[in-house]
């Protein structure tokens, strides 16, 4: 399985099971994708996660659930080095940003108000 196929598996899990990626405005989605996926990467790599603010904690709880699901569903992840995990998670982040923000057909994303 190549990198692209692996990323699609990770995307599919998020799309089928998560809600955090679909906040209503483009700026929220950017924050959400960055917040959750950065923390999920840190968890998968065994690095410290910043939990200073309530918003941090909110990202963190979604990231913990995501990292656990990835570990249990995709055994190929365990065979990866930290650098490889970071690389694949970066690819996932870019793909999620494309699907939910830059390539999205949702016309309400750029509305200036909630």
């Amino acid at each position: 399985m190549d990198m692209k196929e692996k990323i699609e598996q990770l995307v599919d899990y998020i799309m089928k099971n998560c809600l955090w990626q679909f906040h209503s405005r483009a700026w929220d989605r950017k924050d959400q994708n960055a917040g959750v996926l950065t923390k999920a990467t840190q968890i998968l790599c065994g690095e410290a996660v910043e939990l200073e603010t309530p918003t941090d904690r909110c990202f963190w709880v979604d990231a913990v659930c995501l990292a656990e699901a990835y570990k249990s569903r995709y055994p190929w992840l365990a065979a990866m080095s930290k650098e490889e995990i970071k690389q694949i998670m970066q690819g996932l982040h870019e793909r999620m940003d494309y699907l939910t923000i830059t390539g999205s057909l949702n016309l309400e994303l750029t509305d200036q108000h909630y």
């Binding site: 209503s24 405005r25 904690r57 913990v64 659930c65 057909l105 949702n106 016309l107 309400e108």
Partner: protein, 520 residues
């Protein structure tokens, strides 16, 4: 773009962009229908109006309030028995309906005087109730009655009462969703921050986008109380007016129906810094993850895990009994807004059914993004469908059952497709572990009803078998199952009570002494 054009809508070409079929390899950048647009003239939509969305969906579940429509009495239609958002104060808000009963003469001469008389009369008729919400309608909006001014006048004369004004006339949006938006923002602007709540726990949430359909909120409150969490307010099912004025003091907003209530969560985040956590309370695994996340947020994950373990062990054999009998059944998931994405994946995973179509009456493109992502390949997604499209879709897809509202549901029955009421449920609550089994039971009863099997025969053309006697649900559902399943001593049908809420009302909950010391 894989648009789907209905034969019946070829005369309305604009409709083509409102339906897509999710094909192999397609994603949201190639398959997303248009949404939240005004209904195209000629398309007989199933939507409600913006007044309906504000009052009947979000406003009226508030329990300790006189809900007054300033308009013709017909605007109050969706009240008696048509909504099932029960409350623990003897359902005051369902049993009583209030309108100013505007007539033609008021359109000509104005209705502010009538409004003031009605407000005072209503408070006098129900002296125990000191809170009121007034809803503008098309008629009162068009003649320009100043409802806010009248409400202020009454509050000055009757200082013991408090009044909320919701200016969301029927025409103020393409659908009821416009009203959801308006009442969210109006409540936040007018009322949030006007009461300081008493904090009794270090773990304080608002439970938002929950309307207590057949007791869903009671079920969820039971879990929160078992975790030692203080629910400051529920927006709005079984919610109290004054509790909802104190929403600004919560530590976390737990959001369920993002379609109807994400606006207030987003604004509470922006104005008060309260983060928003979206959860799914429908389904075993989804609810478990939701409770775990709330628990982790507060550092009390063990309390969530104890509930998850207990409830899963209690109800999983019953869920699986139904799953074995529902596997592979085709479902059209046709609700109003949020349930298309709450349910699209979890009904497939946990009931074993295949979702062949999703639609939304009033959802936005964001709802379709979630729904299409979660449903299976080949599913037909329709925005703002009309009755003919629904019939054509059922003819094309041959579903075993549809989950929808009572109006399209009755249409489905006429073409011999059973339906479950997705808005108000059949035998709810459907949230919680037990509730999810009750939903499975309702699906099973719908699909395998012997009466429904008789309805499938058309006496004008079908051969009527004379060699078969009466058939039961079990005879129908177990026909092709292996003995391992039919004779299983582990799996069994729903064993809960007819009224599964009764035991919750007098229940006592653990006191977490360490929590009390840290309540802020």
């Amino acid at each position: 773009m894989p648009y789907h054009e209905f034969e019946c809508s070829k005369c309305i070409p604009e409709r083509k962009k409102h339906a897509v079929i999710k094909g192999p390899g397609e994603d949201l950048t190639s398959a997303l229908p248009q949404g939240y647009l005004s209904t195209i003239p000629g398309s007989i939509s199933e939507r409600g109006c913006a007044y309906c969305g504000a009052k009947h969906v979000i406003g009226t579940p508030m329990k300790d309030v006189i809900h007054l429509s300033h308009g013709p009495i017909g605007c109050t239609y969706d009240t008696w028995q048509t909504k099932r958002y029960i409350s623990d104060n003897d359902n005051f808000q369902i049993k009583n309906t209030f309108a100013t009963d505007m007539k033609e003469k008021h359109i000509i001469f104005g209705a502010e005087k009538l409004l003031k008389q009605t407000i005072i009369e209503a408070f006098k008729a129900f002296p125990a109730i000191k809170r009121m919400s007034i809803y503008q309608t098309c008629a009162s909006a068009l003649i320009g009655d100043d409802i806010n001014a009248i409400a202020a006048e009454v509050m000055e004369e009757m200082p013991e009462v408090d009044i909320f004004v919701c200016n969301s006339p029927g025409f103020a949006g393409p659908s009821q969703s416009g009203g959801h938006h308006k009442i969210n923002i109006a409540w936040l602007n007018q009322k949030v921050g006007t009461v300081e709540p008493k904090i009794t726990s270090p773990y304080v949430i608002n439970y938002v986008g929950e309307y207590n359909i057949q007791g869903d909120q009671h079920v969820m409150m039971d879990y929160f109380k078992r975790m030692g969490i203080q629910v400051l307010s529920t927006f709005t099912g079984n919610g109290s007016y004054d509790e909802l004025r104190g929403m600004h003091r919560a530590h976390l907003n737990v959001l369920e129906c993002a379609r109807s209530a994400e606006y207030i969560c987003n604004e509470l985040k922006k104005r008060y810094g309260i983060p928003r956590l979206d959860i799914d309370a429908f389904g075993f695994t989804t609810l478990a993850e939701g409770l775990r996340k709330i628990g982790m947020f507060f550092g009390i994950e063990d309390r969530a895990q104890a509930i998850i373990d207990e409830e899963t062990a209690r109800w999983k054999p019953e869920l699986d009994w139904y799953k074995e009998r529902l596997r592979g059944k085709k479902v059209c998931l046709w609700p109003g807004g949020s349930k298309l994405w709450h349910w699209a994946n979890v009904v497939h995973e946990e009931f074993g059914v295949d979702v062949v179509s999703v639609y939304t009456k009033f959802g936005h493109q964001g709802d379709m993004e979630k729904g299409i992502s979660r449903c299976q390949e080949g599913a037909l997604a329709i925005d703002d469908p009309n009755e003919l499209e629904g019939l054509e879709a059922m003819d094309m897809l041959k579903p075993d059952i549809i989950f929808t509202g009572k109006r399209p549901g009755e249409v489905a029955k006429k073409v011999r497709v059973p339906y479950l009421n997705a808005h108000a449920y059949h035998n709810g609550p459907w949230k919680g572990w037990e509730g999810w089994v009750r939903f499975a039971r309702d699906i099973y009863n719908g699909i395998y009803s012997p009466i429904h099997q008789l309805a499938l025969l058309d006496i004008s053309k079908d051969e009527i078998p004379t060699d078969k006697g009466f058939e039961t649900q079990r005879m129908l559902s177990d026909r092709d199952l292996s003995e391992d399943i039919t004779a299983s001593t582990v799996l069994h049908q729903y064993s809960g009570k007819y009224d599964c809420l009764a035991e919750l009302s007098g229940k006592t909950y653990p006191r977490f002494e360490t929590d009390l010391a840290h309540a802020v």
